[in-house]
């Protein structure tokens, strides 16, 4: 077990180091440096001022030194400074974190609550009408852009119920009902897509497990059908589902980028879009790295959970 855990940790760290290099290089694909961008809007450029700022930000140093400096700052928990707001990036991100976490958490909850039962039912009734209906519904979920689904739902609410999406964010600690009202629809819009993937993997895992001998044995000794499906089969079909939920977490963050924009929720993902649009590149670089860290941690958690759930996994070699 210890060898397995250590190996997973090493892989996570290697991935993060590589990720930081990729992100750092990506941000330098654009012509010109951050100082050019800052000075672009100003009509008159004093070369001395520009040199001064370049020196202050360290962009006149060689690339490897710039990289080392960035990683050094990151390791100290410094997410840099936003040029647009002239503030520390962390001061902007911190109040936005709970918004994104709540949205991601609710979306994940919905996707599991909808996806797993749908997958089980679909597998238990393979090729019956209900299976087709659920499969088409899940494919539809994978086919609709979540931001469009969000827009349509808002439109329906506005036109039929006269409901107006609130412009400002309400904290759950101030008014839980208003907060949930604000989050349920966007979380469902994001969660629907993920639930479709979870449903599909649950279905195929269940179909595979249901062909095993022990299921036939359980049925042969007279166990009730529903019990066999929900207890005996689902337990062993849950492994690929857990893996997928971990991977889905990454995609969920991708979905949040547009959803937070559509629903006007002041989360981290929307700040990323803002920062990209205003070319606040140091913030973009740090936010993308931040997302990479979250994704890698999610994957690591799944790897560890996987080993813990399935005793058949050989810790040394996995």
């Amino acid at each position: 077990m210890r060898g397995y855990v250590a190996k997973r940790f090493v892989i996570a760290v290697v991935t993060l180091v590589g990720m930081s290099m990729v992100i750092f290089s990506l941000m330098r694909l654009a012509p010109g440096n951050i100082v050019d961008i800052i000075f672009e809007s100003a009509g008159y450029v004093d070369q001395a001022d520009k040199k001064q700022l370049e020196h202050e930000l360290g962009v006149d140093r060689p690339i490897p030194i710039q990289y080392a400096r960035w990683v050094g700052e990151l390791l100290q928990g410094d997410l840099g400074k936003s040029y647009r707001y002239d503030m520390r990036a962390w001061t902007i991100i911190k109040p936005r974190l709970p918004v994104t976490l709540e949205l991601a958490g609710l979306a994940l909850l919905f996707s599991v609550l909808l996806g797993v039962p749908a997958g089980v039912v679909s597998a238990a009734r393979q090729n019956r009408p209900i299976d087709y209906v659920l499969r088409v519904l899940s494919l539809a979920g994978l086919s609709m852009p979540s931001f469009w689904l969000g827009m349509v739902v808002i439109l329906l609410f506005v036109r039929s119920l006269g409901w107006i999406p609130s412009v400002t964010y309400v904290s759950p600690f101030d008014d839980l009902r208003a907060n949930l009202w604000q989050f349920v629809v966007p979380a469902l819009a994001v969660g629907y897509r993920s639930s479709a993937l979870i449903m599909r993997i649950t279905r195929s895992a269940m179909l595979e497990v249901m062909r095993e001998d022990y299921i036939r044995t359980a049925r042969a000794k007279g166990q009730r059908g529903t019990l066999v499906v929900w207890r005996h089969a689902l337990k062993n079909a849950s492994l690929p589902v857990i893996t997928l939920i971990g991977i889905e977490f990454a995609f969920l963050i991708g979905g949040l980028v547009v959803t937070e924009t559509v629903f006007n929720l002041p989360g981290v993902a929307r700040y990323l879009v803002d920062a990209i649009q205003f070319r606040d590149y140091p913030v973009v670089q740090n936010l993308v790295m931040f997302i990479a860290i979250v994704v890698v941690l999610a994957n690591l958690t799944v790897d560890l959970l996987y080993a813990w759930v399935d005793p058949r996994i050989k810790y040394g070699r996995a």
Binding site: V158, G254, V257
Partner: protein, 299 residues
């Protein structure tokens, strides 16, 4: 087909002999994969719309007029947008952008990824290990986030959007082709080819690569839908296709959201077009996977 059967059929004109059999194959596909057949219909409709866009469109998709935000009527079948452009013609022409970008970026990403996967799986050893780690790293970012950052760094243009969307496909294609190559590499015929003195690059390209075509086709169909969705999201955020190209995602952005209440058709039609196009690729992709991947047959 006739050549395999025998000399008798070779002599006869092959068309009449093949036709009924082909029709039977189509009928069997529809019976076994009704959803896949629906996917084929949707895909054919999409391609036909893109090819015949100039014929199908009733107006110039980018010409503005004074009749702004008109509700659907006899002249403007789906209404007009805030700049007085005919929405029906824009949605029709949008199929070209979606299909062109979707196909181009998917092929680019899948071919590059496929070649990387081929090298990784065939060469093995340290090369394989290094490539796999690199692919892990590329996959550690959500597709949309990676495409977003790429699109932002490269700047909004048609070729840049294609590159930005294709890069996240590379690790997924590489991993898939590598897995097939690993299995095929161990087969006896590959050993036989080597024993006959065929050089490595030729074995890899001529003997192994053609046999990965099944999973490759499945990957391309599945990724096509994903690429169309990413393009829509990028354009929606203003980082994909620049104006005045009529892109479905772009049509849903700022203007549509702002006028949604007054002109809901601006929101409904472009989104429905995206959803139907992606739905088609997904239906077809599923059916192809079931047909081409024997491991999944019956599931």
């Amino acid at each position: 087909m006739a050549r395999v059967v025998g000399t008798v059929e070779l002599a006869a004109p092959s068309l009449p002999a093949v036709e009924p059999r082909r029709r039977a194959t189509v009928a069997r596909f529809i019976r076994r994969q009704p959803l896949g057949a629906a996917g084929v219909v949707l895909m054919v409709a999409l391609v036909a719309t893109a090819v015949l866009a100039d014929v199908l469109a009733t107006h110039d998709p980018i010409r503005t007029s004074s009749s702004v935000l008109m509700a659907p009527n006899a002249d403007h079948w789906l209404g007009t947008d805030n700049l007085g452009r005919d929405l029906y013609s824009r949605v029709i022409h949008g199929s070209r952008i979606s299909l062109a970008i979707g196909v181009a970026s998917t092929l680019l990403g899948a071919v590059l990824g496929g070649l990387i996967g081929l090298v990784s799986g065939y060469v093995g050893g340290t090369t394989d290990l290094l490539i796999q780690r690199l692919m892990d790293i590329m996959q550690a970012l959500p597709i949309l986030v990676l495409a977003l950052v790429l699109a932002a760094s490269l700047g909004p243009s048609l070729p840049n959007a294609i590159v930005a969307i294709s890069i996240p496909i590379i690790p997924r294609a590489a991993r898939l082709i590598r897995a097939s190559v690993l299995a095929i590499r161990e087969l006896a015929y590959v050993e036989a080819a080597r024993a006959l003195g065929v050089r490595h690059p030729r074995v890899a390209l001529r003997h192994i690569l053609p046999n990965t075509i099944g999973p490759f086709i499945v990957l391309i169909t599945a990724q096509l839908g994903a690429s169309i969705l990413v393009e829509a999201a990028l354009s929606f955020l203003g980082l994909g296709i620049p104006e005045p190209y009529p892109s479905w995602g772009r049509m849903l952005s700022i203007a549509a959201a702002e006028y949604a209440e007054k002109a809901p058709w601006l929101v409904i039609w472009p989104g429905l077009a995206i959803s139907l196009a992606v739905f088609g690729t997904n239906l077809l992709g599923d059916a192809l996977r079931d047909t081409l991947d024997p491991r999944l047959r019956g599931s």
